[in-house]
């Protein structure tokens, strides 16, 4: 049995908003609780946008530092996690633009892992894995606007409402943009595979 410190127990019991109040009151060390809670998701998001672990680490640290600096702007109209996602999205987009990264420039090394990923089970054929690779490559070849919304909605598993809040657009616009993104993806996949429709097992 491990004994947790009082701080750890308090951190587990407190809501994000309560911790924020403490941080803003001067208890800087409590910010580590927020980082611990959200670091995996934020790191995952940064990885989706940057495509490699090294840049994802830098970007995700920058996200938390920016969140800390702007914590006083969090107005509780949405959940803290959604607000943090919005900060993350803005930092990721800035990173992509300042590094002149386009879909094709992104390091797709991570996607090679799909071909050897054992998580899906040995029964998944190499052909199916290759299709997944093609799908991901096509996503990164999309226009920035469509790629971003697919990453947020499908890979980060945000809801319509959360995606709308992050992108600061209405929910209906999210639906429309997802539809257009899939349409674009269809064109790219047809171009890639010469196949219509993109055949799934």
């Amino acid at each position: 049995m491990t004994w947790k410190t009082t701080k750890e127990v308090m951190g587990v019991l407190m809501t994000d908003e309560s911790i924020i109040e403490l941080v803003l009151a001067g208890n800087t060390h409590m910010f580590s609780q927020l980082v611990d809670r959200h670091k995996d998701k934020i790191y995952g998001m940064a990885l989706s946008f940057t495509g490699n672990n090294s840049d994802a680490q830098d970007v995700s640290q920058e996200i938390f530092i920016k969140a800390y600096k702007n914590l006083f702007r969090f107005n509780r109209k949405s959940k803290f996690s959604t607000w943090l996602y919005r900060v993350s999205y803005n930092v990721c987009i800035d990173w992509i633009r300042s590094n002149n990264k386009h879909g094709r420039d992104l390091d797709l090394t991570g996607f090679d892992n799909i071909l050897t990923d054992s998580r899906a089970g040995p029964e998944e054929s190499f052909l199916e894995k290759e299709k997944r690779f093609i799908l991901k490559k096509a996503i990164y070849d999309l226009k920035e606007k469509y790629r971003n919304i697919l990453i947020l909605f499908y890979f980060q598993a945000l809801s319509y409402e959360e995606t709308a809040e992050v992108l600061e657009i209405p929910v209906k616009t999210v639906e429309t943009q997802l539809y257009r993104a899939r349409k674009q993806l269809k064109v790219l996949l047809k171009h890639e595979t010469g196949d219509e429709p993109y055949v799934l097992p």
């Binding site: 800087t28 670091k39 790191y43 680490q57 998580r119 991901k136 539809y179 899939r182 993109y198």
Partner: protein
């Protein structure tokens, strides 16, 4: 059901959020529309991809690295407080903005109000020839007498209201 409507329902269909009537219309449309069927397959592939994503974990020591940067930031804030005074800067900008708006308002008001005595003289006086400096001086003199005129009028109104003379005040 048209394709546009069906496309918008795809995600809700995959998450089993369509009502009975929508479900029937949607499936009937899929049965006859190859394009929407392939869109459905793509959406399904994307959702499956989401499920197949390996669980991402932030690297070891991540929180410590972030907190190290945060504590450095705090130390820097203590050393240079005015640079980080976000709320203070925001108030300062608001005050500056208010002052600028007030000044601009007084200037515009001075030009527009015909009863403003100081200005009638400036407007009717022709611009001096070949002497821009004295022209500018006249404008500022007019401004000054204009503002003076406003306050004289206000003062007079106060005296009249109180029913007394300037000396009594």
């Amino acid at each position: 059901m048209y394709c546009h409507k069906a496309e918008l329902l795809i995600n809700r269909y995959l998450k089993d959020k369509l009502d009975t009537r929508e479900m029937v219309s949607f499936k009937d449309h899929l049965a006859i529309c190859k394009s929407c069927s392939s869109s459905l397959k793509i959406a399904k592939a994307l959702l499956e991809e989401q499920g197949l994503q390996p669980a991402v974990k932030a690297p070891g020591g991540f929180t410590e690295d972030v907190m190290s940067a945060v504590f450095s930031l705090e130390a820097d804030k203590k050393a240079h407080p005015t640079e980080y005074d976000q709320k203070g800067w925001s108030m300062a900008y608001r005050r500056l903005g208010f002052s600028l708006v007030l000044t601009a308002g007084i200037i515009v008001f001075s030009f527009l109000v015909p009863a403003f005595r100081g200005y009638s003289g400036v407007i009717s006086t022709p611009a001096p020839q070949n002497d821009n400096t004295s022209g500018y001086i006249d404008v500022f003199t007019g401004l000054d007498s204009g503002v003076k005129g406003i306050f004289e009028n206000i003062n007079k109104s106060v005296i009249d209201f109180k029913g007394g003379t300037d000396n009594e005040l």
